[in-house]
């Protein structure tokens, strides 16, 4: 399973949706994922990929990790996987 498929599976589970209903253009907001859901998704992603995501819920937009949509999250994870496991 690719990084993209894994991330979509995690986000879909959080949003209580079928993975086919989550596209790379979707934003977390459009999927109905609130702040608690976001923190839980980040936890699940960290567990899945064994990485550490620099994310502070107090300053969600200031972190290097871009959560503006599913595509940016996937790109961020790919970079972190390469960096932390490379």
């Amino acid at each position: 399973m690719s990084v993209q498929d894994k991330v979509i599976r995690i986000i879909a589970e959080q949003a209580l949706l079928d993975p086919s209903d989550v596209s790379v253009d979707s934003t977390l907001e459009s999927l109905g994922i609130d702040s608690l859901g976001l923190v839980e998704s980040i936890f699940a992603i960290e567990e899945e990929f064994d990485i550490s995501i620099p994310f502070n819920a107090n300053e969600p937009t200031k972190s290097d990790f871009d959560i503006s949509n599913v595509a940016s999250i996937i790109a961020g994870i790919e970079a972190l996987v390469a960096e932390q496991q490379g």
């Binding site: 923190v39 839980e40 980040i42 960290e46």
Partner: protein, 402 residues
């Protein structure tokens, strides 16, 4: 001052998962204590407890809720649903704005703590689930009850070890009595039956390895239980105006502190709380027909409690009945007074006095009518419920038939 009545009751405990079945079990003198089922149980010196069996939280809560609800919160919500449903109340507008929830609890989310300590210490993991804190905090149950039922008035959690529920219900009573709130959801819950919880209690050497036998000369300690008891306390005229069924009146309460020892109980402290509750409820000693004892089954508690009752009641101590239902549902620590209040309601409403089961041998230091082994039929019009906590914090509640 306003009169306060109980218009709803709910529970889940080792005997049953609702009030009618719990009362039936108490009337039958059934024992909910058995072998503990948990991870690493073979490493425990104490391997018995009154666990809630056949409990399927997945059927009652969705995935998101389960990620936020520790076992003690789950128990609380199940009991609260039963209590609020029985009351027939729904909270909106002014009623919602003024009504609140005060619950007793001692350990908070011990299962959550235990599981996460295990994962970071034993398994060496460096990351825990993000909801550990909101899941384990002592007030989580009270907060989730407030959210589920739209209770927007005074809401908090009281922690006074084994007296937590009685202290909480005393607070709720006071709020309705004083006119702050028309309705309060109150009671308490506990879920300490996890490996770390039992291990900690083991250390104190007060736990029995075979049975809970309060007041019996061969008693050898307490047995832990788990669960919740939740009640709806309502202002009397408010309840009457809507034709609500009234289960009992909360007549009064008293609290005292031994100010003496962190674990050993004091006869004087207990007696002051008992006498204070009678005064607050404007009851004569002769009015009280039944006391639900703290009755933990430890050497120290039971003889001290009997001496305190003898002091507070004088000659009437020999005519009243006093039983410990902990022999059946175990000691629910911060939730215990709430589940035990059910036995008080049964005594007043149904005229059935729950027994002290496991009683085998008379103890001259506990020479009261402890209703040994079999329930008894008796008409009583006023009852007390005792709770005497570690730390010397005592809280006694008086109920009266309406």
């Amino acid at each position: 001052m306003k009169r306060v009545v109980i218009t709803g009751a709910g529970t889940i405990n080792a005997l049953a998962q609702n009030v009618p079945d719990t009362l039936k079990a108490m009337a039958e003198g059934r024992c909910g204590i058995g072998p503990l089922v948990m991870q690493d149980v073979e490493r425990l010196a104490v391997q018995i407890g009154a666990q809630v069996q056949g409990f399927e939280p997945e059927r009652l809560f969705n995935r998101q809720q389960l990620s936020l609800f520790d076992r003690f919160t789950q128990f609380t919500l199940i009991a609260a649903r039963e209590a609020v449903a029985q009351s027939g109340l729904s909270f909106s507008g002014e009623l919602a704005a003024r009504s609140g929830v005060v619950l007793g609890n001692s350990g908070g989310g011990m299962t959550t703590l235990d599981e996460n300590y295990r994962s970071v210490y034993e398994e060496g993991k460096n990351r825990v689930h993000p909801f550990v804190v909101p899941k384990l905090m002592n007030n989580a149950a009270a907060s989730h009850v407030s959210m589920e039922f739209n209770l927007k008035g005074p809401s908090f959690t009281v922690a006074s070890a084994c007296a937590s529920s009685n202290h909480a219900m005393a607070q709720a009573f006071q709020m309705v009595h004083g006119g702050i709130a028309p309705v309060m959801v109150t009671g308490g819950s506990e879920s300490m039956l996890c490996f770390g919880g039992v291990k900690a209690w083991e250390g104190l050497r007060v736990m029995s390895k075979d049975a809970c036998r309060p007041f019996s000369a061969n008693r050898n300690g307490m047995v832990q239980g788990e669960g919740a008891g939740i009640f709806v306390f309502e202002e009397y005229e408010h309840a009457r105006a809507r034709g609500a069924e009234i289960l009992a009146e909360v007549a009064g309460f008293a609290m005292s502190s031994d100010a003496a020892d962190i674990v050993m109980p004091s006869k004087q402290g207990a007696a002051r709380a008992i006498s204070g509750a009678l005064r607050d409820a404007k009851l004569n000693r002769e009015d009280v027909g039944y006391i639900n004892a703290h009755g933990t089954g430890t050497a120290a508690n039971d003889k001290t409690e009997c001496a305190a009752v003898a002091d507070a009641f004088g000659a009437h101590a020999d005519r009243l009945m006093i039983s410990s239902t902990k022999s059946m549902h175990g000691h629910l620590i911060g939730g215990t007074g709430a589940v035990e209040l059910l036995a008080c309601i049964m005594a007043l409403r149904d005229g059935i006095i729950a027994p002290t089961i496991g009683y085998e041998e008379a103890d001259p230091e506990c020479a009261l009518d402890v209703v040994p082994n079999e329930a008894r039929e008796a008409r009583v019009s006023a009852v007390l419920s005792n709770a005497f906590a570690f730390g010397g914090l005592n809280a006694v509640i008086a109920l009266r038939k309406v």
